[in-house]
């Protein structure tokens, strides 16, 4: 039963990735004049390379079949701007840095946001709650580029405690991490607060208390375990947010990650890189969502594996 659910979900993942790749392909061909034609003539080497790779003189259906075939082999094609570099090279170079930064931010958001939400709920309407929720509303309202520039201004330009740009040492991670983690941390705090309040009003909490369990044990054994479930479902959208956040944060802090390459390729209208990175990130997110769903069923046995969605 578990196996068939996983298999069915996996098939839908493949389907979504296929839809994504197809949509991207036809959007690419919807650009007036085609994606590879511009006012300025291309260097002949690239022109040849592109025509060879994409077989632009073939009929559309054949181009499409070839394109999907290349994708299946994991080949995203050459970069349109950088001579002799493929989109795969760019991803190989940039993604580890972005993944590092993103992972650190997710961990920060979980370690700070979740406990804050629990404290807020346990101290409902007391000063701790008001304090944390005031911060949380700032966190969800301030865009990441505002957060990033503010942090940079205060801690790098004025106080000069931390470096303002570049990448390499742990010190370089702190400011971009804070900028990137701002929204998810605040969101987790709010989510965790409401789900904890929900759990606290359940009968089994009263039962646990009345059988003589200490307050600390009740919170640890019953409240947190049940209240954390919504946080798990939010992990998918969270990672999507971290990825798009990295587009601006990496740019502001001049971090040589994939997000920065992506924005540069938008500025340069480097179509093949834009398409390639879009497909890469989409596939990554769809896969991660799949893993989160599977993990969710495993964490919460109450969910019927046959049909997880309503």
């Amino acid at each position: 039963m578990v196996g068939s659910y996983v298999l069915r979900r996996f098939i839908s993942v493949i389907l979504v990735i296929f839809v994504v790749a197809t949509a991207t392909f036809f959007l690419m061909h919807a650009i007036p004049g085609g994606p590879f034609k511009r006012e300025k003539a291309l260097p002949p080497a690239i022109q040849r390379n592109i025509e060879e790779r994409y077989k632009l003189n073939d009929p559309l259906w054949k181009q499409y079949v070839d394109y999907i075939g290349n994708l299946l082999r994991g080949d995203l094609g050459p970069s349109y701007k950088y001579l002799g570099r493929s989109v795969n090279d760019i991803i190989r170079e940039g993604f580890p840095i972005s993944a590092h930064l993103g992972l650190v931010s997710v961990v920060f958001a979980l370690l700070v946001g979740v406990p804050c939400g629990i404290i807020s709920a346990l101290k409902q309407n007391q000063w701790q709650d008001n304090f944390i929720m005031a911060f949380a509303i700032i966190g969800v309202s301030v865009p990441s580029f505002v957060m990033a520039t503010l942090l940079m201004y205060v801690f790098a330009v004025k106080l000069q405690w931390l470096p303002a740009a570049m990448w390499g040492t742990p010190k370089h991670v702190i400011l971009p991490m804070l900028a990137l983690a701002g929204f998810p941390t605040a969101f987790f705090a709010r989510l965790m607060r409401s789900s904890t309040l929900d759990v606290l009003s359940q009968d089994y909490i009263r039962t646990a208390r009345s059988k003589g369990l200490s307050w600390g044990a009740v919170v640890y054994k019953h409240v947190i375990k049940n209240a954390i479930l919504p946080v798990v479902t939010y992990l998918g959208p969270l990672i999507a947010g971290i990825i798009t956040g990295s587009f601006v944060v990496e740019n502001i802090f001049a971090i040589p990650g994939l997000g920065r390459y992506y924005v540069t390729s938008i500025y340069n209208r480097d179509y093949t890189t834009i398409m390639g990175v879009t497909i890469f990130y989409s596939a990554l997110l769809v896969m991660l969502n799949f893993l989160v769903d599977i993990a969710y069923c495993w964490i919460d046995p109450r969910i019927k594996l046959t049909d997880a969605k309503e």
Binding site: I266, R269, Y281, V286
Partner: protein
Amino acid sequence: MEYSAEMFKPINKDIDSAEAIVRPSVTYWQDAWRRLKKNRMAMVGLWTIVAILVIAIFGPMVSPYSYSDQNLEEQNQYCSSKHWLGTDDLGRDLLTRIMYGARISLTVGFLASLLNLTVGVIYGGISGFYGGKIDNIMMRIVEVLNAIPMLLYVILLMVILEPGLQNILIALGLVYWLGMARIVRGQVLSLKEQDYVLAARSIGASNWQIITKHLIPNAMGPIIVTATLNIPSAIFTEAFLSFIGLGVNAPMASWGVLASDALQSFRSYPWQLFFPAIAISITMFAFNFLGDGLRDALDPKQRK
């Protein structure tokens, strides 16, 4: 003291007046408004939005400068009595540009939300009302679309459509209706089983009448909440797109464009970045507070 019969008279002579309702009944909307008024943060948000709207509409008319007036002798000035929020690198008055930016950002927010509302209500309404196979297929499509990171596709659409206000609206409108469609579908699914729908049907109301007179008005609460919360996310997305170079065209400027332009010279002239950033943040605050308040006010079931 003596009591005589003359001192007494029977009340409620006619049974009709006893049954009459003295005060007008409180409608759902009056009740919601009463609840909203009690929520201080939501009211602060509401009045802030009104103030921003007034500034956006009338501010540029009062200002002695226009958003494109360049004055190269007054580059990069700090706040002064002549230029309240200083000037940018081409000597343009920053306050005026921010007020114009408010027009663009708010237009994007409201129109994109309206577009999502229209598409979402129609799609979700059809799906929920007809149910069965149609619902199954339509919701499968939503599920597939929902699994795709939409912001990446907004970016892709903007790259293909070329930047510009109209195209931002198209891109935002095309991709962000999913949440609305799901909510409307859920509402319609549960509402159409209600007895008053059966009653309406039994006296011969058409599908169209049932949808427009019964289902949509009753689903209005969640629809309004979702639409209100869609506005800040549209403004947010527009600022984000502008920031990565896919916004409106110069010399027009949304808040995102202003912030992005100021980033280059941010170390020397930080205020050029801070003022548009503050404008965005205040607007986000206001809409988030109002949206949260509306949710509490319009959805009494959720309240504890």
